[in-house]
Symmetry: C2
Subunit: 733 residues, 2 copies
């Protein structure tokens, strides 16, 4: 539920498009191509903007309250991230001169599924007279789509979303909407209560896509009118009546607790979240605000039911059509993993639920074995409409394997590995084995051709370094998991091998492919080559290209971009972070320096990674600059497109910047290690890490780092490359 | 005007879709993309299927004549390529048992623009009774589009084509159709005359999109009814009335000459064409038929007015939406150049007419200078909807420069060079200079990155050998032309340089780029590499891929194809032909052998080139096999898609197979040379060559080659690497 006003705002996609999104609720459309080819996805998926249930229109006699008319004499609006409540208070003078005070509060419950509540209080300050409160559900939602920007979507040809029924009685208003192709019915059901000393009449209305209640109050100066509204959504393929009975139950529970009760629940839920997740930065209010804003948004958007995931823009906008990307595995899962590992598991369970579709996709792409996860999707089917920066990004498979590895490291959740993880590891490994080959032209090394790495400004290349090293890791994890299962869980291994038809020689092939993986390196420059031919290209003319031509993707044909050494985002540099123990510090420095010069950071996924690696190699000022861009990207609209929605991966990146970047946290070879650094502008910073049943609090100041074991048994950790046993508390330099 | 029956046929795109196409008459639509990016063309162009003016419906009382009903007792249908007339004669027994003889003839005039005539003769053989002849214009044309094949089109979203007016009086019927976006009005106007001893009444009718005449004849056994129909089309942006008055004049002229007069004109025109163009193969009727069929089709489809060009499918079908490709420069121009050089000039003039649009496209593609010709177009604007196999094929520019070079060699038409040719050569050279760069990683050689060569099964590569060597040639031609103009035509040079803002150092850059062009070569294999990384890829699994999976583009995702060593068509091998003097015979053999093994010939442009090069290197049996596939591709439907239209480039390729292939004709270093070979199955073959004002007849038998100078002054030629002076006749071994 976007933070727009209850009364609405004239439609403007930049200022305040209405938006109410339910994770996983989408419609399909037809993807059209200039020229079609085999294997191009034909079905698009688009998250839909459901009915606006929070709408409250206020009239003073015939004057309609609007922030864009009359005068605002006093105004305050805040999102309280500790409470999880959006508040607004203001004094408004109408064009005719009447003054009112308006106080609203709103919350979307974290614990009660799809429930929101609004507390709306209006007080006439200087007049007696009719005050009308219209509380409605507005099904006439508009789309921001249609802006000419490839990062949004292109509409829903063939699909649609429309109101099928609206009902209202004296207590309850309900609107039912349905998607044409996916056959999902979305119910929005509302109940409200009014409280005032003034006399009033109430009525109900249905008008096309709008349904609601009208309260006509004989307002008296100084006497408040308080209206509380409870809104619940549910979406399913079931009938309207079953949706109705379910939502009514939710509403009854809500009414019982009341607005204040729900607010207390919200506070309690968030208390726990912040206890485990908060990062405190003393000495920099702007960064402190930003990081909490980011962590709050992540929680609001992430799917926690194992059936949904997290959209690139969360549930805050229509950018990227509500699709799930590798952002989940590379950014979101790590950020939740050390505070709320259960959420990370749910995100991986989502992938497991789509494994069959990934297998089908692999067959469509002519792979005899294995699974190919989609570059972008909601329901698990590939729906990227531009394969050079879509399907060609095979590294999505490695991202999922990597996330499983990190999840296992941090949780030792063997049940997950045996029930879901191993199968995904094996199927992704199989795909790499089928995709690449032992290339005689490269001394028999295992090569992977015609893929696109994370850097989307270079496409369809051979031996993308990042892809190859991550594929190697994927193959190794799968191999090691197979060996471990054969030793320790033979029945489970046999069952899984039978299920997926795994031949004994396949695991050996994984090992051989991993051992012989080709990793392009330039001896001349002493750096890893982004791919076989990246260094052959002309360096982008950074000097002469004007600032307004960035992001390049909006101003240059892909061929022009592909022809140059220019990166949209971290590619080799991302590998330096993820598999940092495989490189010397000197090597990291050379790679970082080379690629830093040719990277535009046109992708929001870039700055956080550069910040982390810069800290790793001792470039702390650069690290700090990248961190500021990361942390405040949406608050300060650094990318210029926050109106499409927030950048969730980057938000998670800001957590990583502190924990992996400044504090230098890594887990290599099963040991939790830190190399803390504190920026001179900060007094101290602290955070908590959940790791293998422990909860550890770190507090880092310029003089020392303290480790405190809050939960769990003692643990060996590494601090600045030296091992320590953490029992209760350790204070180190 | 497709060869469908006058009475029509139930709609079936494979058996006999109606089709009447006017070269250059098209509608625009919107190209939609899965994901849009900067510089993607947004306007598509589609050749439209105009009203069917040849329609004649025959009724015996209430029975409608159809080849699909009743019985055919005798039947003959032929296209006479000597006369340019399509004939049909048959005896039909109606379901009710009545017999008629039907004799039709039809011609589309070569000399009178957009004029066609039908002679239609029906004789009742065994009955007296009512015979109705309906002669109409049918504007309700259907499209074959919509088949799921990327080689057709995808419909016309946003555009349309519809009837705006229909008029008929006792003598003339007219139907006017208009395109919505391009604003072109197409008039189809018809006059007819009936001749019979039987009594008849005539009437006229208009019914929606159909307009025409009804002749009701009191038929008598044995007495013929002869109906002659003249049909004229015209398309322009002018009003219906001005189109009407123009077309009426054409019709008057036609009526004056009568059907027989037009047939005589047609014969005379073709006599001249065949005199200069015919290839005679004695000893193989099937090949003889095929080559004449091909030459006849080329003449029917080629634009001869300097404003139109030749569609990939000619005017015979809707495949590739009626677009013009490099087919023109690489195949069609060479085939006409040595018989009807005036046609080749007109095709180049068409390109010159689109030069401004090519300049605009170059700017869109971020090139500061030069012109980039469109990969596919009708009106000169790029409209390829899949850039990896469209816009990325920069070699279109070199194809145009190459055609200018060949045209100049064969005609010494300096007026053309000064008025059009030089400007195109300079602007294409400028584009290469801007596109490539001197690459320190390749010893400072001039490299061209991220293009697609002729082989569309490999896309967006660095240093495509074909592209680079052809770009080198383009740069050299431009440089040499600039030097020559500066010496011999200084005022024209200065004028042109001022017009296009050519700096003196630019021509020097062309020379330097050409001299330093990087041409990838594998020392290990002793072959030219198709591009920097082609040989790094896995060889396609030819053994295990079943026949039904070809053409690959219909069965594999582009990434799967791009990942392998597999070629759709001649790429390196095409350069071996076009610039054959740059390679040793041994080199050609090595290249040919390597690439022949990995080429599927899924493109119809491939077989002819392989045939020519095979002959060059002495692989005559392979050359013969490829030639048969070339020559009879459409007659025997080797590609399985002749119903989309004929393959005009391949048809021209069949001419090249004989002249450049078997007879080994080349022009290198300004000398016309031959190395004739005759296949043992043939008695002899002969053809004529127009070259620099001469007309030379070659007749090749197994024992000797005779050269006869039919027109023009004596000339030095080369026969099997030895020079001879051709005065009247030379007979050599």
């Amino acid at each position: 539920m976007r933070g727009t006003f209850e009364e609405g705002l004239e439609y403007d996609s930049r200022l305040g498009a209405e938006g109410t999104f339910l994770n996983g609720v989408y419609e399909e459309g037809t993807i059209r191509y200039g020229e079609m080819a085999h294997g191009f996805p034909e079905k698009k998926q688009t998250m839909i903007n459901v009915a606006n249930g929070k709408k409250i229109i206020l009239k003073l006699d015939n004057e309609i309250f609007s922030m864009q008319a009359g005068n605002i004499l006093d105004y305050k609006r805040s999102i309280n991230m500790r409470e999880g409540v959006l508040k607004r208070s203001l004094i408004w003078q109408s064009p005719m001169g009447k003054q009112i005070r308006l106080e609203t509060e709103r919350l979307v419950c974290f614990q009660r599924r799809n429930l929101a509540a609004v507390s709306y209080k209006v007080t006439p300050l200087d007049f007696d007279g009719t005050i009308i409160v219209l509380s409605e559900i507005d099904g006439d939602t508009k789309y921001a789509l249609g802006e000419k920007d490839p990062r949004i979507g292109s509409g829903l040809e063939g699909g649609s979303f429309f109101t099928i029924d609206a009902v209202v009685d004296s207590e309850t208003a309900a609107l039912f909407q349905r998607t044409k192709r996916t056959g999902i019915t979305v119910a929005c059901v509302v109940k409200g209560t009014i409280k005032t000393e003034c006399s009033y009449t109430s009525d109900k209305y249905i008008c096309r896509d709008r349904v609601g209640f009208e309260y006509k109050v004989t307002g008296q100066k100084g006497k408040a009118i308080e209206y509380t509204k409870f809104i619940v959504y549910e979406a399913s393929e079931e009938s309207c009546s079953s949706l109705m009975s379910y939502t009514l139950k939710v509403l009854e529970g809500a009414m019982e607790r009341g607005y204040d009760g729900l607010a207390r629940e919200q506070y309690e839920f968030l208390s726990d979240y912040w206890y485990r997740s908060d990062i405190e930065i003393k000495g920099d209010i702007a960064l402190q605000q930003a990081i909490r804003f980011n962590l709050f948004h992540l929680l609001q958007s992430v799917g926690r039911d194992g059936k949904t995931n997290i959209c690139a823009k969360g549930l805050t906008g229509e950018g990227y059509e509500g699709h799930y990307f590798w952002d989940t595995e590379m950014y979101i899962i790590p950020a939740f993993l050390y505070s709320s590992p259960g959420i990370s598991r749910k995100l991986l369970e989502y992938r497991y639920g789509t494994l069959d579709k990934a297998r089908e996709r692999a067959r469509e792409m002519s792979h005899k074995k294995g699974a190919l996860f989609p570059w972008r999707t909601i329901n698990g089917e590939e729906c990227s409409g531009y394969f050079p920066a879509g399907t060609a990004q095979y590294h999505i498979n490695a991202a999922i394997a990597h996330a499983i590895k990190k999840y296992m490291e941090a949780t030792q959740d063997e049940e997950f590995l045996l029930s879901c993880g191993a199968e995904m590891l094996f199927e992704t490994a199989r795909l790499w084995a089928d995709l690449g080959y032992f290339n005689a032209c490269k001394d028999g090394r295992f090569c992977i051709n015609c893929v696109t790495g994370p850097d989307e400004y270079t496409a369809i290349v051979n031996n993308n370094f990042y892809t190859n090293i991550m594929a190697k890791d994927n193959l190794e994890i799968a191999y090691n998991t197979a060996v471990w299962m054969k030793e320790c869980h033979r029945p489970e291994y046999d069952r899984l091998a039978a299920k997926i038809g795994l031949e004994p020689e396949e695991t050996e092939l994984w090992k051989r492919a991993a051992d012989n993986m080709y990793l392009p390196y330039s001896e001349k420059l002493g750096i890893h080559m982004q791919d076989d031919t990246f260094l052959d290209k002309k360096v982008w003319d950074f000097k002469n290209v004007p600032k307004e031509n960035y992001p390049l993707l909006l101003h240059y044909h892909p061929l022009v971009i592909y022809r140059h050494q220019v990166c949209k985002q971290a590619d080799v540099v991302l590998a330096l972070f993820l598999l940092g123990h495989k490189f010397s510090q000197e090597q990291k420095r050379r790679d970082y320096e080379y690629y830093e010069k040719v990277t535009t950071h046109d992708s929001s996924l870039s700055a956080s990674i550069f910040s982390i690696v810069a800290n790793d190699i001792g470039y702390h000022e650069e690290a700090y600059d990248y961190f500021i861009k990361t942390a405040r990207m949406d608050l300060d609209d650094y990318q210029g497109n926050t109106h499409h929605g927030v950048h969730t991966a980057n938000m998670a990146g800001s957590w990583m910047c502190i924990v992996n970047g400044f504090a230098g946290m890594r887990v290599y070879d099963d040991i939790l290690s830190f190399k803390p650094y504190i920026h001179p502008d900060w007094e101290s910073y602290s955070f908590r890490i959940a790791y293998r049943g422990r909860l550890i609090q770190l507090t880092i100041s310029s003089s020392e780092t303290s480790y405190e074991l809050l939960e769990g048994n003692e643990l060996e950790i590494t601090h600045r490359d030296k091992k320590y046993r953490l029992k209760d508390r350790l204070t180190l330099e």
